[in-house]
Symmetry: C2
Subunit: 340 residues, 2 copies
């Protein structure tokens, strides 16, 4: 059996569980009762004193390297920050390992590094080390950036606390990043010329809200690969619930929606890089939406967590369609290469 690019989130999840996680003995899956590899969340949590060290790791490749709204550098730093923020952690440092192909232009590398450092400066986050390698020509397509994010949390958000009745909130219009990348790859940027990638750190908009509402936020993620469809399915499966969302409530730029619909791509599966999805206590959902809006977000409540009506619906995500129908939302990786 060989490995295939662009497999669905479910297949990749199963592969990682079977090939890697299941081989790691129980005692070596986490440190000091924290959160480790068995959780498959964005990061790991290590209790240190009365706080929690949160460490995330992610590899970034994207084609094209530069796109409307940013570059692979913007993506790497935003993504790393956001992986920490959605776990409730304040970033304290980032490390990066950059691997480029022989023949990579130095001035292109400089532009990418500048994009990274501009964001680090803006949010005052130290870059404390890393690695840099040049691979022989033909061994790598251009560039891969792998980052490690290091953060501290008082109350890390673990995505297994979801309860029946929770409201699902999306912080901003989704799928703009994915749409821009798809359009770039297909030579169709003219079709969405007012749209830019949403890639940005969620520190200003989301972190203060997470710190304020703490335990009332039961789950938080940034819907990158696989879009919100992938995250919602993961939440439904891991918490044995049904999640119902209303497609007409989901914030999305009309131009992005029209572009993706014309291609037959469901926007629920398309990546965002500066948006978060939350599951929150219904008592606080309006307050949280208002707080997010006061910070410049276009947040919306898009659905809720319900008791599964049958065994079949346990672990499933249901979408109410624009004409009132109900469909099951599958979790699938988008079959287009290298989107985030």
């Amino acid at each position: 059996m060989t490995l295939v690019h662009g497999s669905g989130a479910r297949e990749t999840f199963d592969l990682i569980m079977k090939t890697i996680v299941s081989k790691v003995p129980e005692r070596l899956r986490k440190v000091n009762g924290g959160m480790g590899i068995d959780v498959l969340d964005d990061g790991a949590v290590i209790p240190i004193g009365d706080k929690y060290l949160v460490i995330t790791m992610d590899s970034y490749t994207v084609k094209p390297i530069f796109f409307p709204g940013g570059s692979i550098g913007t993506l790497a730093i935003s993504g790393t920050i956001n992986d920490l923020v959605v776990m409730g952690a304040r970033p304290i440092a980032i490390m990066d390992s950059i691997t480029v192909e022989e023949g990579f232009e130095l001035n292109v590398l400089e532009k990418i590094v500048n994009d990274m450092i501009d964001l680090l400066k803006k949010y005052d986050i130290p870059l404390i080390g890393g690695d840099f390698k040049v691979m022989p020509r033909g061994n790598l397509d251009k560039i891969i950036i792998t980052t490690t994010g290091i953060g501290l949390a008082q109350n890390p958000i673990v995505d297994t606390r979801i309860r029946i009745g929770d409201k699902i909130i999306v912080t901003d219009p989704i799928a703009s990043h994915g749409a821009v990348i798809i359009a770039s790859q297909l030579g169709l940027l003219d079709n969405i010329k007012n749209i830019k990638s949403d890639a940005k750190p969620l520190i200003d908009a989301l972190l203060p809200v997470i710190e304020k509402y703490g335990e009332h936020i039961h789950a938080a993620r940034d819907p990158t690969r696989g879009g919100i469809a992938s995250i919602l399915n993961e939440w439904a499966i891991n918490n044995d619930v049904t999640i119902v969302i209303d497609r007409s409530k989901i914030p999305i730029e009309p131009e992005v929606r029209a572009f993706l619909e014309a291609l037959g791509i469901d926007f629920l599966s398309v990546a965002s890089e500066g948006v978060a999805i939350l599951a929150v206590d219904p008592q606080y959902s309006d307050d949280i939406v208002n707080e997010l809006r006061s910070r410049g977000c276009k947040a919306e409540i898009i659905g809720e967590v319900v008791k599964p009506q049958s065994e079949l619906l346990k672990g499933k995500v249901i979408a109410i369609t624009e004409i009132g129908g109900r469909t099951i939302v599958a979790s699938r990786g988008l079959n287009l290469p290298r989107i985030c």
Copy 2:
């Protein structure tokens, strides 16, 4: 200007300094007065309470993926552990990001992961998370593994504490890993059939010694890319000293030496993956060698740190040759691809 694979350590160092480090503002180069990107050591140090969190990051690619004595999996885990150990840190957890090319064989991935997990089990180190991606065919040659090592140190070893008179110790015969990889690439494995890669974690042999002798060990590194020539040059430059080594005192398997000499490759520049080089207080150098030998190492004192006899010799490494001559040891990356 484009980037070239296999450039010397000096060129890569200059490139990293110019393109990345110099762009990061002073205040964002470290956390809480720890050690950060300006040090260019194997890892970063963050003071946390009365201890120090040490975090390392490294990307591993090697051709062939399997070699006598191990695989890229052995290399990734040994290298990560050793980067922590030579900073005086006890590993508490590892994270990994594996990227493979589409079409990569699943059973090959499983073998590599097994090599990784076998070492983690042996040394009881948790694997607490990471990332896994499949890249489209043609975008990557086989596999890259990037790791993050997380450790705790009481007294991190900073390589700027080297003093005149320090003795240089090598813990075991050098260059076996590099020789095996070079032989594999050239189809010459028959010429060194008794040699295996030295890739192994340095926890049992070196960590107790570092913890026992603490501040008397002034510098420690594992001589991977560029071999001991590269590390010694870095130490000489960063500490404004001359380092003199005696080539006849350097432990190396005769078969490895003969093989490299036949190819015209200086063993000082060839990588080891389970060896450390130390600069220690001369008062303790014999004790440290004996302690290392009692733990199964073939440690030797190979040289010492001296006062530069002229401005020209400041920051230089001098080797006493087998016939008593003196040569300057240059730092150069080996021009053979993907050795570690």
